[in-house]
């Protein structure tokens, strides 16, 4: 196991439940502050989708002591960079600042954790609602194949399963956001006991501890959050659906329910996706794009989250090629893997790739901070780099074959995205 992946850290919990992780790295005079709230679109309900993502916007609109726009201004003026992102299960907020501005970052993060509501106004909500609707138009509605994933997920998961809707939310729900609902959502989920704070980079340990104590310890804990109880989703039969879109070429998406994040078969399915489509010489790429040349591209993902995972294969047809032709060959290759397995060399190639990309990812202090938080929130311990990599190194070709059989012989959702017919 590579020693450079053994990252030193200290972890402790404040009285209000906020988990704190400190990791020192003095390569540059920078410090990354990374805060995960364990709330994502899976914590929303039908008719009120898009709240977690909305907060990714509202959290930059100022809080009790920070006027609108000043969150961005203060960080940029200090020479920092900042952003946030939303997934099904978590939202992260992060900034990297010169090491002499750590206190500024903690001040800003703590103010919006503890003192957000007094500054949350109808006017700000209406403005960011417009921005989010434009984000949706730009990234989904006016983007070729942009609505594919939400169409797949809403077919794959039943209406009451919280992965049924997209993280950005449905347009008709975004239009209806109400201030009191938004405030209630904030009060419930944006609490110290539902968050994990990582400080990584160049800082003085005792100073950082003291600043964290000063800025975060007086924020009261919120209500305990009971995680909902969901039955493991099951797809009884194949679902075939068609979406007409502003695209030039048809694309097929095949999606199976698969293993959840860090579950027993998650790593085997990651490897399988790499063997099927991770490189030019991967099986599906070689077959469809290189040899037969009936597809423009093919890609696979083991997209795994806290409650469930999905294995997705997507391929775009060359002009004049039918999607059924692609589908036939994709299934013949899946059959081949299920029947004959993969080679030791294919497995090793995929493993080497995972290992080197792990090391490449350590170049950014903000990526290190985010990964520490990921491990802390999902595996209970921050320094799980080597454990994570170990999941891949312990696999045998037999494990990959078994995973393919276990998941890819089940019913699936088939989405065909077709060019809109000309009027």
């Amino acid at each position: 196991m590579p020693e450079i992946l053994d990252l030193k850290y200290e972890k402790y919990t404040l009285k209000n439940g906020l988990e704190v992780i400190l990791h020192k790295n003095d390569t540059l005079p920078l410090v990354a502050v990374n805060l995960w709230y364990k709330v994502g679109s899976a914590n929303e309900t039908k008719g009120k989708t898009g709240f977690a993502h909305l907060f990714e916007h509202m959290m930059f609109q100022g809080s009790k002591n920070i006027p609108k726009e000043m969150h961005f201004r203060y960080i940029q003026e200090a020479g920092g960079t900042l952003n946030g992102s939303t997934s099904l299960d978590r939202t992260n907020y992060y900034e990297t600042v010169p090491s002499n501005s750590l206190e500024l970052a903690l001040w800003l993060e703590s103010d919006r954790m503890g003192f957000m509501l007094p500054a949350l106004t109808e006017e700000k909500l209406q403005n960011q609602k417009d921005v989010v609707m434009n984000e949706r138009r730009q990234r989904y509605d006016n983007q070729p194949y942009g609505r594919a994933w939400e169409t797949i997920f809403s077919n794959l998961y039943p209406k009451d399963f919280p992965y049924h809707w997209p993280t950005i939310g449905w347009m008709e729900d975004i239009e209806k956001f109400r201030l009191e609902d938004v405030k209630e959502f904030f009060g419930k989920f944006y609490t110290p006991n539902n968050a994990s704070l990582v400080i990584a980079g160049n800082f003085k340990h005792e100073e950082a501890e003291k600043l964290i104590e000063n800025y975060f310890s007086d924020i009261p804990a919120g209500p305990e959050i009971s995680s909902g109880i969901y039955f493991k989703p099951i797809l009884e039969n194949n679902i075939e659906t068609v979406l007409e879109d502003n695209v030039q070429l048809p694309r097929i998406y095949l999606t199976w329910l698969s293993e959840k994040l860090y579950g027993q078969d998650d790593a085997a399915l990651d490897i399988l996706s790499d063997i099927l489509s991770g490189s030019k010489g991967s099986r599906l790429h070689k077959l469809l794009v290189h040899n037969q040349q009936i597809a423009q591209d093919v890609s696979c993902y083991q997209y795994s989250s806290v409650l469930s995972g999905n294995f997705i294969i997507a391929s775009t047809a060359k002009p004049g090629v039918s999607l059924s032709e692609l589908k036939k060959l994709i299934f013949s290759e899946i059959e081949n893997v299920i029947k004959n397995g993969v080679t030791e060399r294919e497995l090793e190639r995929a493993r080497n790739n995972f290992e080197s990309s792990f090391i490449y990812s350590l170049q950014n202090i903000d990526m290190i901070a985010d990964q520490l938080n990921n491990y802390n929130c999902n595996l209970g311990k921050p320094n799980m780099f080597n454990h994570d990599l170990g999941r891949y190194s312990q696999l045998s070709p037999e494990n990959i074959k078994e995973a393919a059989l276990k998941y890819l012989s089940n019913p699936y959702v088939q989405l065909s995205v077709l060019p809109k017919r000309k009027k």
Partner: protein, 448 residues
């Protein structure tokens, strides 16, 4: 003890930051190397930069540079395309090729342990590409299909049409990916000719950031690239004749929920004296989230997810451009607001804005040297624009000394709203009348 939250915390002391030391080296065949030693991780990051971008394409060969470059790793030396890929993947090495109007970039990222084997493969790709007929046909077909797909990408269409409007029928006006009717006529020998003419060590330089010590990396490079032979050429590019491109141009997309907007005009090149004043000025106007254009269009009006402006520098041409995507019904209003901002920046800039922009640019500087690829990217800028080595050392003091008269002068000299071209990709039926009304211009229609 609880803190007083109503007061913004101040900075604690000053930050110490040492710029990486740049070494100028040379291989046995004269190939130039810019090297930075960096050893917090065991990595080799390298760019080979060739003066063989699309501006050197002959007339009616738009796309030749891109296709030639992308053929390099589709089979080389004794390896087929798939064998080459297999070798690189097995090492966990990333080799990637990209092309712009000026240059071809071949980049390599490898673990230190695998550096020698990776360099050997890299050298084969650079020196012995096969250009076999079947590989050529497959890749040609792939790029033609890609061009079909791009007809549905609004932001791509807006950007290439903006280039076309600004730089006309010169090579800078052509898309990097090329033009389908040109590409269809390419023969394999067109690519090998282009390769022989422009892919040569006299047209090349290497940028490195690595944990491998200087003498070791030079030995390895001499072994694998030191005998690379030089075709003696001085590249000639196909430069634009500048004429006024002002006007309103629309590319129609039926039922588009948004309009992609590009507004701008040609600008002075990278090495003008007021480069730093321009940089600070654009940071105030549209270079950051909190710049005027984004605050107006996004945070005030809610028209868009984001809007920004920049000076885009190439070796022989440069331009200023504002880009955004707005919901269809606000297209004309958004254009009007952008023009207001272009006019306003030439009238007044406040000391507060200037101080903010300078602070941000100066203090963010150390973070531009964080990753291995950021460092090779910075070295590439030195090489491509012929900047002095002390450019990085002097950057902060150059920004620091910009004063209000200079930044205001930079706005007046470099922002010309009356000369701006407006390119819109959107639903013509819903936006044309309002746009013509707003701008007083007659719309010219662009073809796909």
């Amino acid at each position: 003890m609880p803190v007083n939250r109503s007061v913004k915390p101040s900075e604690k002391g000053t930050v110490q930051f040492t710029l990486p030391r740049i070494e100028h080296l040379q291989l046995n065949n004269g190939l130039k190397i810019l090297y930075v030693h960096k050893d917090n991780l065991p990595l080799l990051q390298m760019y080979l930069i060739l003066d063989s971008g699309s501006k050197y394409e002959p007339n009616n060969y738009a796309g030749l540079a891109n296709l030639t470059a992308h053929m390099l790793d589709e089979g080389a030396g004794k390896y087929t395309a798939l064998e080459l890929d297999e070798e690189l993947e097995f090492l966990g090495t990333d080799l990637s090729i990209s092309v712009n109007h000026d240059n071809v970039f071949i980049s390599l990222l490898s673990l230190e342990n695998n550096a020698e084997k990776s360099l050997e493969l890299f050298s084969i790709v650079v020196q012995e590409p096969s250009f076999s007929e079947p590989d050529f046909q497959r890749e040609k077909n792939k790029i033609l299909t890609k061009l079909v797909q791009l007809k549905s990408e609004p932001s791509y269409l807006a950007s290439v049409n903006f280039d076309k409007v600004l730089f006309g029928n010169s090579a800078y006006g052509n898309p990097i990916y090329g033009i389908d009717n040109n590409i269809k006529n390419f023969k394999r020998t067109d690519l090998t000719d282009y390769y022989c003419k422009y892919f040569s060590p006299v047209n090349a330089a290497i940028m490195i950031a690595s944990s491998i010590p200087q003498n070791e990396i030079i030995d390895m490079l001499n072994k694998y690239l030191g005998n690379w032979q030089s075709g003696k050429v001085s590249p000639e590019s196909n430069l634009p004749e500048m004429s006024s491109s002002a006007g309103l141009y629309i590319l129609h997309k039926e039922n588009a929920p948004q309009s992609e907007i590009r507004i701008g005009h040609p600008a002075e090149g990278r090495k003008t004296k007021d480069y730093f004043a321009k940089t600070v000025m654009n940071s105030i106007l549209g270079g950051q989230f909190t710049s005027r254009i984004n605050l107006n269009l996004r945070e005030d009006k809610g028209f868009t997810y984001g809007a920004h402006s920049a000076f885009y520098y190439k070796q022989d041409v440069s331009y200023f451009g504002v880009s955004t995507a707005v919901q269809t019904e606000n297209t004309a209003a958004a254009v009007s607001e952008i023009f207001k901002e272009l006019k306003n920046i030439t009238k007044e800039i406040t000391q507060k804005e200037l101080d903010f922009a300078k602070s941000s640019l100066i203090k963010t500087y150390p973070s531009k040297f964080e990753t291995y690829s950021q460092i090779t990217g910075n070295l590439a800028a030195l090489h491509i624009f012929g900047l002095e080595d002390n450019y990085f050392e002097n950057y902060i003091s150059n920004i620091l000394k910009i004063n209000l008269p200079e930044v205001s002068a930079a706005a007046k000299k470099n922002i010309h709203e009356e000369e701006a071209a407006i390119v819109i990709v959107g639903d013509r039926e819903k936006i044309e009348a309002a746009l013509e009304n707003e701008t007083g211009l007659k719309a010219k229609l662009l073809k796909e």
